[in-house]
Homo-oligomer: 140 residues x 2
Amino acid sequence: MITRLSEVECRRVIQAGRIARLGCIVDREPYIVPLNYNSEDNCVYSHSLAGLKIKALRRNPRACVQVDEIESDLCWRSVLAYGNFEEIITPNQRKEVLGKLLKRFPMLTPVESSIAEDGSSLQVIVFRIKLDRMTGVSEG
Amino acid sequence: MITRLSEVECRRVIQAGRIARLGCIVDREPYIVPLNYNSEDNCVYSHSLAGLKIKALRRNPRACVQVDEIESDLCWRSVLAYGNFEEIITPNQRKEVLGKLLKRFPMLTPVESSIAEDGSSLQVIVFRIKLDRMTGVSEG
């Protein structure tokens, strides 16, 4: 039996997760990419090299992030949260966000680690999805 | 280092996977839902109760399916395949598709099992995404 999750439970799933699927619209088609992230203050923070998804999100910032906890085919929770893509460009903020990502994902590459030290390289795009709506369902 | 997957490797990932994230566009927003599926003949087959995603896909059939194999933060493969949503409505075809899904996912509910026996109940939407383009990347 599938039941709806409360907003509190949705937030718990998003905060606990490590991999989200980020959805956006590219040339009128849906687009999905897996994403390591950190969530706080009702935002999902992540980073990316410049590429298709960043180009698309700059043009159309509407995005969604789907996070799930799948224990088996019949025991799972899935949350879908919507929000707008916002680039983080000031060095101090970039440093803070990358620092927290690095702490959560210590396996990030040495390049990213060194960027995190001063937040200055603009090759890495640092961004957040500012969430404004979420729904969730669970089974089992 | 992130590298591009060949089409053969993309197909292998999709055929081997059990959970895809299905993406579509709902009211000009991206939408993602996890999906158990079976893949053959360049299609992804699945089923669903009527609801938001089915309503949206009937209106705009363009969809994507993202399938990944994630071993660690630095060792993963992810494939994104695009295609059109097509409902399967003839009882024989429905029976065949549901039968294969049931074989792959024996934990499907008794309701679905009984539907699979004759494929006749229209409460369960049976559909395929007919893939026409795919890309994949891997790391590690």
